[in-house]
């Protein structure tokens, strides 16, 4: 099992040894490019699998079969959908702000790529190691709102505009509880480095020490990826498809890829911060544990989506500001007091 666990690291070392000096700048550059390509493959694969899984879970919760025609049990459905999207006409409405209209989906797609690249997928398997991991992640992931607002404004469509304004309203409500809930973990580990945070969880995952923060982060995370019950941005029955109304073909597909990538990124960060990342019993390699935990979080998000009705935007803002924010501040306070007492007690009992 250890061999399987070390396999990616050994492959990386083998590729490095092809260079004369295994730590030259060219070896580093090659490794960076390879790991970035792996992240891109991960996003595309995640989107293909998750779209199918989402439709299957939707079918399962509402007691209908879901897609089941193409291939065994409909497994090839999303591949066919992706091919279809590529062949569709790319329409830019006459009144749109053309430049902003065209780059908004590209930003949306680029963001999960940039965030997923700092997540540690296994021991020493973070594609990019950053000491500022959490700060970088939060900074990049917050930009997705900007992409939605750009799409909403530039489409020159009233539904899109409403959707874009809702995206901003949603962001200013969930962002503070989301950021505060991660603060407790930083207080315990004293580092922003995601690899170090996972390494600190080898005895106990932080969900045990930070249950309140975990719940707050889960709820705020669902709001961050704009999924039901907080899918006000693209609420079909109210604003058609929100900012995506005017998009067609692969440009719309980029939004879709970006959304599922974001969903994976939020689940990956939850796993890293609270569920112990790649740590797990040695019966499976670390990266398998990581993806299992990510899968559980994603399944939970889908389950929530197909179980709860959409809530109103002012209720969402009320929930975030009047419930989640006080809870997350309470969590910071409790964590601070807890650590303080722990530090007072441990030296006296000789721990």
């Amino acid at each position: 099992m250890n061999a399987l666990n070390q396999l990616p690291l050994n492959i990386a070392a083998a590729i490095r040894s092809l260079f004369g000096d295994p730590h030259s700048i060219w070896a580093d550059l090659t490794m960076d490019i390879i790991s970035i390509i792996l992240v891109i493959v991960l996003i595309v694969l995640a989107a293909l699998i998750l779209i199918l899984l989402e439709r299957k879970v939707a079918g399962w919760t509402s007691q209908r079969p879901g897609p089941n025609r193409l291939g065994p049990h409909g497994w090839f459905q999303t591949i066919a959908d992706a091919l279809k999207l590529m062949g569709k006409e790319d329409v830019t409405p006459a009144g749109a702000d053309r430049l902003m209209f065209k780059i908004a989906p590209m930003i949306m797609f680029a963001l999960p790529m940039m965030t997923l690249a700092v997540i540690p997928y296994g021991h020493g398997m973070a594609p990019i190691r950053l000491n500022l991991g959490i700060v970088y992640y939060l900074a990049i992931s917050a930009v997705s709102t900007l992409a939605l607002l750009m799409a909403g404004w530039s489409s020159n469509n009233k539904y899109s505009l409403l959707g874009g304004m809702r995206a901003v309203a949603q962001m200013i409500s969930y962002e503070i509880p989301l950021v505060f809930s991660l603060l407790g973990v930083v207080m315990i580990t004293q580092t922003f480095n995601l690899s170090q945070i996972v390494a600190d969880q080898h005895t106990i995952p932080f969900i045990v020490l930070q249950p309140l923060a975990f719940v707050v982060y889960l709820i705020a995370g669902v709001a961050e990826v704009n999924r039901a019950p907080f899918d006000l941005v693209e609420a079909d029955q109210e604003v058609v498809a929100g900012p995506f109304t005017e998009y067609t073909g692969l440009r719309w597909g980029l939004f879709f890829l970006g959304e599922y990538g974001n969903m994976t990124a939020v689940a990956a960060l939850t796993t890293t911060m609270f569920l112990g990342g790649w740590q797990g019993p040695a019966i499976l390699p670390g990266y398998v544990w990581f993806f299992l935990k990510v899968g559980i979080i994603i399944f939970f998000q889908m389950w929530v989506r197909w179980t709860f009705p959409r809530i109103r935007i002012d209720h969402l803002m009320g929930l975030a500001w009047k419930v989640l924010l006080p809870l997350s501040i309470l969590n910071i306070f409790l964590t601070g007091v807890g650590i303080y007492i722990y530090q007072l007690i441990v030296p006296r009992i000789g721990g």
Partner: protein
């Protein structure tokens, strides 16, 4: 332990290039036959009335103001959390005084109705 921002730079180049390459695919294989009706905004079949790009009343303006205050607070809280255990009792009490002052402001905003949809 490293701050590998060179790799982030490479990543940024990929993140910009890849969507551009992907968008070249439909240029090659997808049909492109625009006409006047197709390029009108989709508003459920009705002709669009009036302009869209107007000064839009955002009903959550006061939320946004409170958000700004708290966003700045996070900027202070993150470095504090990072060195919290090294700084000892003083930093511990000091930061909770800071949070308490902000909470008083938050309570005032709540009481005055800033946290209501207007």
């Amino acid at each position: 332990m490293s701050d590998n921002f060179a790799a982030v730079g490479v990543l940024l180049i990929f993140a910009i290039a890849l969507p551009l390459i992907m968008m070249a695919v439909p240029k090659l294989i997808a049909p492109n036959k625009p006409n006047k009706e197709k390029l009108t905004p989709y508003e459920c079949g009705n002709e669009t009335i009036g302009r869209t790009w107007i000064g839009f009343k955002s009903n959550y303006f006061l939320y946004a103001l409170v958000f700004t205050a708290f966003d700045v607070e996070t900027v202070f809280l993150y470095p504090w959390a990072l060195t919290f255990r090294k700084l000892g009792t003083f930093a511990f009490v000091e930061m909770f005084v800071f949070i308490a002052i902000l909470l008083v402001g938050f309570w005032y905003a709540w009481k005055e109705g800033a946290l209501e949809w207007m």
